[in-house]
Amino acid sequence: MAGTAFSSIAATGFAPLSAQRLLLFGGIGLIVAGMLFGDVFAVFVLHQNGGQTGEMLAAAAQAAADRDAPGVRNAFASVGGLLEDRGTKIDTHVHLTDAGYLALLLALVQPYVALPSRRKKRLAQIFLAGSVMLPVGIFLIHYVGLAYSPFPVIGWASVLADAGGALLILALLGEAWGLWKYFRGERTDTEPRLRFDNSWAERALLSGGALLVLAGFLYGAYYAAFDLYHHENQETAILKRLLDFNEVARPSVANEYGSLAAERAVAVAAHSHLIEFGLLAMLLSFIQPFVFLEEQWKRRWVVTFLTGSWALPVFVLLEMKIGLLAGGMADFGGLLVVVALIAMLVGVLRYTGHADAVGVRP
């Protein structure tokens, strides 16, 4: 079955090391790297960081109660460091996965980019270089700081991140220029166009993706309507209690602050992961014709992907109610998504291997 599908697809071409191939492999690789990073971050950093931030706020409150203004400033300097640590790691995860989505999207629009294949390949290389530099730079910001920097507030890691961002903008401008030329009537036809086999795997990913996005949107609307204002008022109330010198249970109030931060974090994570997995499912439906696996294996990996895509956000939400077990299940959900992505990547690699073996050229 795969062989029959292959022969029809092969005719459309999928040139060795073409821009489309680079973006497809790079995109899936970036998403896998981003998800693995997110899993490691969730297990080893997220909760510990939240606890430490709560402790530092309690220390600031204690310093205020002791009329120790420098102590307050020291505690807040530590809070700033902890927030930077957490923020840069979340940003690394988000930028890796989002650059991956964008790479997949660019792979799909390559047939409509009217530029010579060498230039398209160069743009793809620039895009992928920027996609690696940007998150690596963001990750290093917390550790490198201002060491050896000639600038008063910008460190070398920020320079690396900004340079990565500039490369992404450059590559995207180039792609936009190619698209503009295509819409003006120029044609190069070096990449296969979007095609659909209308297979079960494609349909399941499209429908499942739309449902995931819908669920994420509905949950976000529910959170905004019923929990957001309540959480915001709760934060102010907790901070007021921390500043109350008569408050004897200051450490437990600080714990309340940590729990509130965790509650908000899981709500936002569930909302954004549902939507992102939905978008990813739809993007993956486009590449199914390039996944060179038996139909039943393609189905299995699609089911694995969709199961993980639902499990991760649902169990992330349940973390506040049933604790570590839910955390473990959420991580397992993430692992299912990663395994399914790697399996699809192997399928695309097999496809390209066969295409090269039979000498398919654009």
Partner: protein
């Protein structure tokens, strides 16, 4: 490509560009100052409390809460515009496969476009003084538009599946 697909694709690209421009403007002229103000207000509340200056501590805490309220919504508007725009672009590429008539697909696309523009705009409007009720109504209308359009697309993909 059908009219509905084109509407989603062009609308999505335009919305993404608008969302990015808003984000660029926000990052250059507003975000840094907002974050600095937020940090200073919170630290100020604790420092004022250390000096037993309760009135100023309370004022600083209120300033922190107000600034954070605005910051969350301004960033949300930016990310939701771009997120919804990406969804429109992806859906635009496959909207012909939604198993309804082109007329029904077109109206679904219109609903998604209207909701995608309106919902983040309403979130942003919540930060303006005096427009909170209108903002909430617009947010509900925008969210309803997106929900109906997405539910329609999901059902449409299923319908296509069963028809095949």
């Amino acid at each position: 490509m059908s009219r509905s697909g084109r509407l989603l694709l062009v609308g999505g690209i335009a919305l993404a560009a608008a969302g990015m421009l808003y984000g660029l403007h926000y990052a250059l002229f507003i975000e840094h100052q907002t974050l600095e103000h937020m940090g200073e207000s919170l630290e100020g509340a604790f420092t004022q409390a250390a000096s037993e200056n309760w009135a100023n501590a309370e004022t600083s805490l209120t300033a922190y809460a107000d600034t954070k309220y605005k910051y969350v919504r301004q960033v949300d508007a930016h990310s939701h515009w771009i997120g919804l725009a990406m969804l429109m672009i992806v859906l635009g590429a496959v909207f012909d496969r939604v198993g309804f008539s082109e007329r029904a697909r077109y109206w679904l696309a219109v609903l998604l476009l209207v909701g995608s523009v309106l919902f983040p705009f309403a979130v942003l409007l919540q930060t303006a003084s005096g427009g909170k009720v209108l903002a909430s109504v617009l947010a509900v209308v925008g969210a309803a538009c997106v929900t109906i359009a997405l539910a329609g697309a999901a059902v449409g993909f299923f319908r296509k599946a069963s028809a095949d």
